[in-house]
């Protein structure tokens, strides 16, 4: 056990830091990525990263990456969040689809899809949920029909993040209507400009349009847009689900960075003295706990990373991750709002005017969704109980 970064890891960190400091846009200077302008601004930022091979550091160099180790990937994320760099508009592709493509894709598919994903020339959205199948993938009803030279897709997907603007969609359809629940599903790669695809953006409670409904009416796709074998959709999807719930998507840097800003906000209140300081003091133990939990999440991630680096598989522990980071995120952002104090209308810049107005509230709204997406925490608890503790299915 050695928690020192190696000289190579250290050098990697320093290179990343120098590059980011030279290139990163000022925090908050890009428009929201859920607007058309903002989407393109974020795409340009991904391109800037890609040009210097920072967009997919853990990919092979041949595909635009740096062959970074998992620890280096974590180091890069720490640096990325440290400078409050923009949200990754390519997130669905590079974090959710790419691991699946690497594992299940043909060589042709990898060559076709990965490079434009890395350069953000093609941005992906996810088509899994349906109105009647939220956390329950087995309830998928959208259908794929065999047809000469390919497939015809019909149905409706919902909660597709980035769906309003993305070029491609990775989606699951029922290819065998006779098969039960988890069987008979197939994983497809579908261009959003294919005839028969209609997108309806879904406004969120904060007025943004982070996700969309996508309708498929007789959409034709050739065989080479099936990922991982006909009828294998469930198994293929679950490897991506593991990514979403586990290590890849949820860099601990996001939480440790937010926890650090929470401490700053707390100190700011203490420094005001009087009422503000006393009110902050009353929250001291909860602030400390949120900070400790963010640290615990970071350590747990490095622990898992070491195990993965040594070839161990991450199993149902990923469900523990999901529960823990989503609750930690809520605690951090809820406390930051509570530190705003009585009478706050929640969107105002706080007395620590340095943070953007509404920034904590945005984070809180996002955090509120945490226990819901990527498999609700209720389902994750079932997974933990059944797979890690051996309790019977109910």
């Amino acid at each position: 056990m050695d928690l020192d970064f190696t000289p190579e890891e250290q050098a990697f960190r320093e290179e990343a830091r120098r590059w980011l400091e030279a290139h990163v846009p000022a925090p908050g200077s890009l428009a929201s990525l859920d607007t058309p302008e903002g989407f393109e601004e974020h795409r340009r930022w991904e391109r800037t990263m890609y040009d210097d091979r920072w967009s997919v550091v853990n990919w092979p160099a041949a595909l635009g990456g740096r062959d970074a180790s998992i620890v280096e990937w974590l180091v890069f994320a720490e640096e990325y969040y440290r400078v409050q760099a923009p949200k990754r508009v390519s997130q669905n592709g590079i974090f959710l689809l790419a691991p699946t493509l690497f594992e299940h894709g043909t060589n042709e598919q990898k060559a076709r899809y990965l490079p434009p994903m890395a350069s953000a020339d093609e941005i992906w959205c996810q088509g899994w949920s349906e109105p009647d199948a939220g956390s329950d993938l087995a309830g998928i009803r959208s259908r794929a029909r065999r047809d000469a030279g390919g497939w015809v897709l019909d149905g409706q997907k919902t909660w597709c993040s980035r769906g309003a603007f993305a070029e491609w969609c990775f989606a699951i359809f029922r290819s065998d209507p006779e098969a039960e629940r988890h069987r008979g599903l197939t994983y497809f790669l579908v261009p959003m400009d294919a005839p028969g695809v209609t997108v309806r953006p879904i406004p969120q409670l904060d007025g943004e349009t982070g996700f969309a409904e996508v309708f498929f009416e007789g959409v034709r796709v050739p065989d080479d847009q099936v990922l991982g074998g006909v009828g294998e959709g469930w198994r293929v999807a679950m490897s991506t689900a593991g990514s979403e719930r586990g290590l890849n998507l949820r860099s601990p840097a996001r939480y440790t960075e937010a926890a650090g800003r929470l401490l700053d906000r707390y100190v700011g209140r203490l420094a005001e003295g009087g009422e503000a300081a006393e009110a902050a003091t009353a929250l001291a133990d909860r602030v400390a706990r949120a900070y400790v939990d963010a640290e615990a999440y970071r350590l747990h991630t490095y622990w898992t990373a070491s195990a993965v680096a040594e070839g161990q598989a991450v199993g149902a522990e990923a469900s523990c991750n999901k529960i823990f980071w989503s609750e930690t995120d809520l605690a951090i952002h809820g406390l930051a709002l509570a530190l705003g104090g009585t009478g706050s209308e929640l969107l105002e810049p706080g007395p620590d005017g340095g943070s953007r107005p509404g920034e904590w509230l945005d984070g809180y709204l996002f955090a509120l969704a945490g226990p819901i997406y990527a498999g609700t925490n209720e389902i994750q608890r079932n997974v933990v109980a059944e797979r890690l503790l051996g309790l019977p299915r109910g």
Partner: protein, 397 residues
Amino acid sequence: MRFAFTEQQLELRGAVRQVLASECTPADLRALHERPPEPAAGPALGRADPGRTSARWAVLAELGAPGLLAPEAHGGLGLDEVDLTGVLEEAGRVALPEPLGESAGLVVPALAGLLELPGAGADAGADPGKVARWLGAVAHGEAVATVGGVEVGRAGPVLTTAPLDPDAQLPDAVPCRTPRVVASDRADVALLVAPGAGGGLEVHLVEAAAARRLPTPSIDGPRRPGEWEWVPSPETRLASGGAAAVLVGSLVDRGALVAASQLLGLADRMIAMAAAYAVDRKQFGRPIGSFQAVKHLLADARVRLEFARPATYRAAESIARGRPGRAAHAAMAKALASDAADLAARVALQVHGAIGYTWECDLHLFMKHTWALSASWGDAVTQRARVLAEALAGRSG
């Protein structure tokens, strides 16, 4: 000891509930909501739909709601805070955007109290005729009144009004700024607390026309908080010195009660919405409400609400009777109601899942109002600190 509403109280409340069910629908609220404005360039005031707002206010006025606490001589119903708390619970249930709590629950008793205590008027030099005119207008629902300049801190009222020029000599003829005055665009008049000479407090009655009003970005758009710039003067002054201190102390307690009452209604509404959704929505082949995890989430929210209610009604009775414990009772009510409503919001969102996160689902209309009210007039942590301080003083004394 009889800890229950009277038949008449239940009837009044029922009437208000019935009216509001049709006069204040989610569609009405949605129309008043805007996409949260970019903070740099706030929306112009007046985005409210004044037609619908005035119509709704007129209906409430017809029931006597704004003047519920006003003496009959001034056109009110002459009822008390116990009656009012039930009415405001119904206001909360529909997330009523108009300032019924401020008008009926804070401004009316403040003005009526000033008229009853000639000492207060004398102390401040307020013109009783003017006070009576405004009291009548607010009680009849002809004028909409709001409140500003004071928030609730752990050690007592916290003044938020400040002179634009920090070095200016107070009190009079110095332009001041009061943040977060709710119903900023539809209020005709505001009761504003301001710093007085020698570190004291003053209370002023300021007409909307005499103030420059700027909107404050808020997640709860329909509440229309705004900043008022205004100039304190002998003409606006209602009370100073000891009378002002008493008045502000009363505002703080009443503010907590008014917010707590509405939070009860909000919590009940959100729990009901989530329960209805849980009955309809199927996952894994059965209604999600049949899963124990969903049941227990909702049951816990229901339990917290169940126990916040009597505490709020007790606070109302305490204030109505002028009991010595009313400050602690109001604080306790607000702490319990804030926590109950915050929990209900979180649980309701959790039960709704992704749907609850959308603009189309009504839930956010109630969640946002909950978050705003929960943080107003002392959040739960602040109010618990007040309770603890009072309780410790009580045990050692």
